[in-house]
């Protein structure tokens, strides 16, 4: 059984059909790219998968159970985490607390324990701290643990967002243009990190990206969107040489 199964997914905003008849099937452990020209509906597809928008038709199932109609926080609990195209960090919180906030559902204790700071609170907090540092180390962010998120350089902010998403212990990680605004060196480093976290955390990754070097370098399978509908899918070498795809990107 596929990890994520999307069937006939569609959404309309008034008369605009932003995503139409999208079908996807992601196997567990795969690294899949979602590409397409600007305005093709890629981010909208992410918003549908994470419950920001409710689809007007179609189904989304994660490990066999439907997630349509769930709130974003419920979907996160179910196992889908994401990053955002325009970075959305908790700016006025420390790097450590950014990740800690994402551990919200992993380490639970009651409001009473929060207010009284009893022994069980201290134990859980200590476990959280250890987990946070473990995740931050993967991204070489551990030295910045006490820095405000807003003070990090751009590339590190992107990394922190991925770290935060991983902290929710997802089965599926959605990355929305992770290499946007990065120089070639940073992009190369990012590709390594993505490979690394995929193995280390044993997760499935779906990413939106315009950097074709990155896409062809790490993705095993691609879906191409154009005008909200699926244009092609297949392995990178087939899809990227498909005349339809080239026309969609470059025009006639």
């Amino acid at each position: 059984m596929a990890l994520l199964e999307v069937k006939n997914l569609g959404i309309s905003f008034g008369g605009l059909r932003a995503v139409d008849n999208l079908n996807m099937s992601l196997e567990k452990g795969s690294l899949v790219g979602l590409i397409g020209p600007n305005g093709a509906g890629k981010t909208t597809a992410f918003n549908l998968l994470t419950g920001v928008y409710r689809p007007t038709d179609g189904t989304i199932t994660l490990e066999g159970s439907s997630i349509v109609g769930k709130t974003p926080s419920e979907i996160c609990k179910a196992g889908i985490a994401r990053t955002f195209q325009n970075i959305r960090l908790f700016q006025k919180m420390s790097v450590k607390d950014n990740v800690k906030a994402a551990l919200h559902n992993q380490f639970q204790y009651s409001l009473l324990e929060s207010i009284c700071h009893v022994a069980s609170y201290k134990k859980k907090e200590k476990e959280m701290d250890e987990k946070v540092m473990e995740i931050l180390k993967v991204f070489d962010l551990d030295v910045y643990a006490d820095t405000f998120a807003s003070n990090l350089p751009y590339g590190k902010q992107r990394k922190l967002e991925i770290a935060r998403a991983l902290a929710t212990d997802p089965k599926l990680l959605l990355l929305d243009e992770p290499a946007a605004g990065m120089n070639p060196n940073e992009t190369a480093e990012l590709m390594e990190t993505i490979e690394l976290i995929r193995k280390k955390f044993d997760i499935t990754i779906l990413l939106i990206e315009h950097d074709m070097k990155l896409v062809s370098g790490i993705c095993e399978y691609l879906y191409v969107l154009n005008f909200g509908t699926e244009l092609a899918n297949g392995t990178p070498d087939i899809v990227l040489n498909d005349p339809k795809v080239i026309t969609a990107y470059l025009g006639e």
Binding site: A101, H104, Y121, E125
Partner: protein, 321 residues
């Protein structure tokens, strides 16, 4: 380790403050006017700290905090006037009940929070505050505009220990909460509610939670207020009162519990101690509000922060290597 040190310092500060006030009270160094300021200072600290939870940490503006306070004050006063128990037992029940009634109102006001943010929410809370006041004004049981009098003064300076303990409880509750998974969720919502939701934090639940806790604590402050002043009038809980509390939070740096406490102490004590300044009090408040906001968002302030960050960054990079 560092946390323990901080905790120790705070405990020492609390003991010193308590001891200092007790010595001043018992040695008779304080005149009547200064003694009568002690409980209002504590009440305002409670109000400012509880409002700080919403304005500073949840990042929403409410203009109806005096409404929560009035619910606590009237509930507490009516209970201690009518309950047949010994005064302190009644007061205890009044404090709990006052907090609870305010918390229920907090939950009701929390509902619009789910749909509204920013400006609209501020206006709705203002509306709620005014509705509460109008209703209190129109009811018989609250004495209407004439007020509710004859409340036993169980929280005036003669009962400083009790008032001090209550104030400490309010401060500890809020500061502990902020350093917990619940508090982090609340701050995450302030910084970016969309990302918070995407990280598995149920935004609606935590917004309502913040409102309920804040209202509960404001309700307790209201009970203390009622049993210090002895007579309640709806006019004591108008829009201006809400703004006064807001000024304390803003002056305290919005999001700093210590700042809110210090601002509450200063803004309560100063106008009373400086004769003549009382006339200019609201004028000064308004200028403080505008100046604080202009400064916080000025280029000058941004440059200061940047400079500080740069230094910290350089230090980190050195350590990294």
């Amino acid at each position: 380790m560092e946390n323990k040190k901080k905790l120790l310092i705070n405990v020492v500060i609390a003991i010193v403050v308590y001891a200092a006030v007790m010595i001043l009270l018992n040695s008779g160094l304080l005149n009547r006017q200064m003694r009568s300021l002690i409980t209002p200072i504590c009440t305002n600290v409670m109000l400012a700290v509880s409002l700080c939870l919403i304005v500073g940490f949840l990042g929403e503006l409410t203009l109806g905090h005096a409404g929560f306070m009035s619910l606590g004050a009237y509930t507490g006063a009516l209970l201690s006037l009518n309950l047949p128990f010994p005064p302190y037992v009644s007061l205890f029940i009044a404090i709990i009940a006052g907090g609870c009634v305010a918390a229920v109102a907090g939950a009701i006001i929390g509902i619009p929070v789910l749909r509204l943010r920013g400006d609209y929410l501020a206006i709705v809370t203002l509306g709620f505050g005014e509705i509460i006041r109008s209703v209190i004004n129109a009811l018989d049981i609250t004495g209407g505009a004439r007020g509710l009098s004859g409340i036993e003064r169980l929280t005036n300076y003669n009962h400083f220990t009790l008032v001090f303990v209550l104030t400490l409880i309010v401060i500890v509750v809020v500061s502990n909460l902020i350093n917990s998974r619940h508090g982090r969720a609340i701050c995450a919502i302030r910084d970016n509610y969309i990302a918070a939701e995407a990280c598995g934090i149920p935004v609606s639940r935590f917004k309502i939670m913040a409102f309920i806790i804040s209202a509960f604590l404001a309700g307790i402050a209201g009970v203390v207020y009622a049993h210090n002043i002895g007579i309640l009038k709806p006019a004591n809980f108008d829009y201006n009162t809400s703004i006064e509390i807001l000024v304390m939070v803003v002056l305290g740096g919005m999001g700093s519990i210590k700042g809110s406490i210090i601002a509450a102490v200063i803004l309560t004590a100063l106008p009373e101690l400086l004769r003549g300044a009382a006339d200019y009090r609201m004028l000064i408040y308004s200028i403080v509000l505008i100046a604080m906001m202009l400064f916080r968002n000025s280029n000058f302030n941004a440059a200061l922060i940047e400079k500080k960050n740069l230094k910290a960054m350089q230090k980190l990079q050195k350590e990294g290597k």
